[in-house]
């Protein structure tokens, strides 16, 4: 179980209707279905991940998020989720708008580009960060729109988005340091939003 999955489930109600954007192999939806009896769908474009979802009995829809969520009605889901995929979107701000239109609430998790290891890479090596957290080179990374926790907070503020909850989770860096200065020591952010 990925660490962000473990934390975000506290904000999802029993039996709620959930949409998971970029649902991968369906692990999270399967977990939420078993533990919280949620109903819903995952959106995914990778053929192998889609096969895995179907094999798990998770409802998966082949849909590219960059095409928007125009086929989903306003506030038709209790929660719209997106875990570790925001940075791969062509238009992250538009995806965020769409999530808040379709969902009564949203939960979004993303890696912190302001993490000290990333800063160290750029500041002292003069190279784009490559680490165990961000294992791609600049030219082949699917992560095309990185942000720091602060950047994300600014976007939420500009869009008048309510931050209901925020949490920082660390797997490799000390949790204490992460709580002390999230934008420097936090690895993954989990935001619980509404509008």
């Amino acid at each position: 179980m990925r660490i962000d999955f473990n934390h975000l489930q506290q904000w999802i109600g029993e039996g709620s209707r959930v949409l998971d954007l970029g649902c991968g192999d369906g692990t999270l939806l399967k977990y939420l279905t078993d533990s919280k009896q949620v109903k819903g769908y995952g959106l995914e474009i990778d053929p192998e991940q889609i096969e895995a979802c179907i094999g798990r009995g998770v409802n998966v829809i082949n849909q590219n998020l960059d095409r928007g969520l125009g086929n989903f009605a306003d506030k038709s889901f209790d929660t719209v989720l997106m875990t570790q995929a925001l940075q791969t979107m062509y238009f992250p701000h538009k995806v965020l708008d769409e999530m808040l239109r379709v969902g009564k609430e949203c939960i979004i998790t993303f890696p912190n580009f302001g993490h000290y290891k990333a800063r160290f890479h750029l500041a002292f090596r003069g190279r784009m960060p490559v680490s165990d957290l961000l294992p791609y080179e600049w030219y082949n990374t699917p992560n095309i729109h990185f942000c720091t926790f602060k950047d994300f907070e600014v976007l939420c503020h500009e869009k008048h988005i309510n931050v209901l909850n925020r949490q920082v989770v660390n797997e490799r860096t000390s949790q204490t340091l992460g709580s002390f200065n999230p934008n420097l020591f936090g690895e993954t952010a989990i935001y619980h939003l509404s509008k």
Binding site: I61, N62, N71
Partner: protein, 381 residues
């Protein structure tokens, strides 16, 4: 000498005929006092009767979906890639039923059958059929076979329309609905192709307003042209280019030569038209294309597809192919969107294939894998 049949096929199969004596009232208002349906089955019905899968055929399909009719058969049934032991529709797990639809020409009651009142072939007087008539007649076959509820109703193209109609007409008799390369209704372009095909048949002097059997003749060339038109729309531009390009079968473009040139694609299409028109019935072709044209899933539900699907009790699996321009991906997305709006359980996948509409019949790894995974879930429920 014959080669042994492939071990992953259902082997030798024999069609059977169900004689259904209860009158059937059709959507057009007319009655059939009794009718016959030819069908094949593969696999074994379990003691609970819970593992039956209905395969609905497309425009020119029939009951012979898998296996071989004789040791010397060159070609297996039309969906042999996907039906058999260990295949996506696994005959080790499922009891698979496929029939020739009412109005067909492969043995089921249709325009070639004898009309009881006149003692002559029905011909063009055979009642106009809708997709729902097929569904109701298939329900009679299910009763006849002792199948109370299908584990799944599965169909591609026109077959997918039947599967969706099943979900609405008999919500308690379907657990899963599998809709491949299909649509909730045809587009104007689709109807246009069908009408052109019908006109090709009707303008053949041997058509005789559909009474060609009484005249002891057959509109062979009209039906062949109809099939050629259809066949073009089942393939993609890309595949035609790959397969034939501008290759010549005969003749040459050399200056000063007046002989006709024949492209490979011409010869191919003519061959397809010829072989099809030898075995298919022109009135059936007209009847089936009309059923396709008339189908509109949501018409009687105030044109609200989500409202229509709210009746359904089953789960859905929908698939489409990226080069299919006869039943494009957008049509499948409309189905999926309506199902989501109706809060139904649905999975949907878009398959990368160069083969156009025909792709639903052909081998494809991702298609095969997702289809297999979905059917395997059904089997373990």
């Amino acid at each position: 000498m014959t080669t042994p049949l492939p071990p992953d096929s259902v082997g030798l199969v024999t069609p059977r005929t169900a004689v259904l004596q209860e009158p059937l009232t059709l959507a057009c208002g007319r009655n059939l006092d009794s009718f016959e349906l030819v069908y094949e089955t593969y696999g074994t019905l379990n003691a609970e009767g819970s593992n039956a899968v209905l395969i609905c055929h497309a425009l020119s399909g029939d009951h012979h979906a898998a296996g071989y009719h004789s040791e010397s058969d060159r070609k297996p049934g039309w969906w042999n890639h996907y039906i058999g032991p260990g295949k996506a529709i696994d005959t080790n797990r499922f009891y698979v039923v496929c029939l020739n639809n009412l109005g067909g020409c492969s043995g089921s009651t249709g325009p070639r059958s004898i009309e009881p009142e006149t003692g002559k072939p029905w011909g063009a007087r055979f009642p106009t059929l809708r997709v729902r008539d097929w569904v109701h007649s298939q329900a009679r076959l299910a009763d006849y076979l002792g199948i109370r509820q299908w584990a799944a109703v599965v169909g591609g193209s026109l077959g997918g329309m039947q599967a969706m109609r099943w979900a609405l007409e008999y919500p308690n008799r379907v657990r899963h609905c599998v809709v491949i390369a299909s649509a909730m209704k045809l587009s104007a372009q689709n109807i246009a192709f069908n009408e052109t095909a019908r006109q090709a048949i009707m303008s053949d002097p041997n058509y005789h307003n559909g009474d060609y059997l009484a005249h002891d003749t057959y509109p062979k060339s009209g039906l062949a042209v109809a099939r050629m038109i259809g066949h073009i729309t089942y393939l993609s531009d890309h595949v035609m280019g790959e397969k034939f390009g501008r290759e010549l079968r005969s003749g040459s473009f050399e200056q000063g030569l007046d002989d006709l040139v024949e492209f490979q694609v011409e010869s191919y299409l003519r061959y397809q038209g010829d072989t099809f028109s030898d075995k298919f019935d022109a009135n059936t072709y007209i009847l089936m294309t009309r059923a396709l044209d008339y189908f509109d899933l949501a018409r009687e539900y105030n044109d609200d597809p989500a409202g229509a699907f709210r009746r359904a009790q089953c789960k859905f699996y929908v698939a489409s192919f990226n080069t299919d321009w006869r039943f494009p991906m957008e049509r499948s997305r409309e189905i999926v969107d309506a199902l989501i709006a109706a809060d139904k359980s649905v999975s949907y996948t878009e398959i990368d294939s160069p083969y156009g509409h025909d792709a639903f019949l052909l081998p494809n790894e991702h298609y095969e894998q997702t289809f297999r995974q979905y059917m395997a879930r059904i089997a373990t429920e």
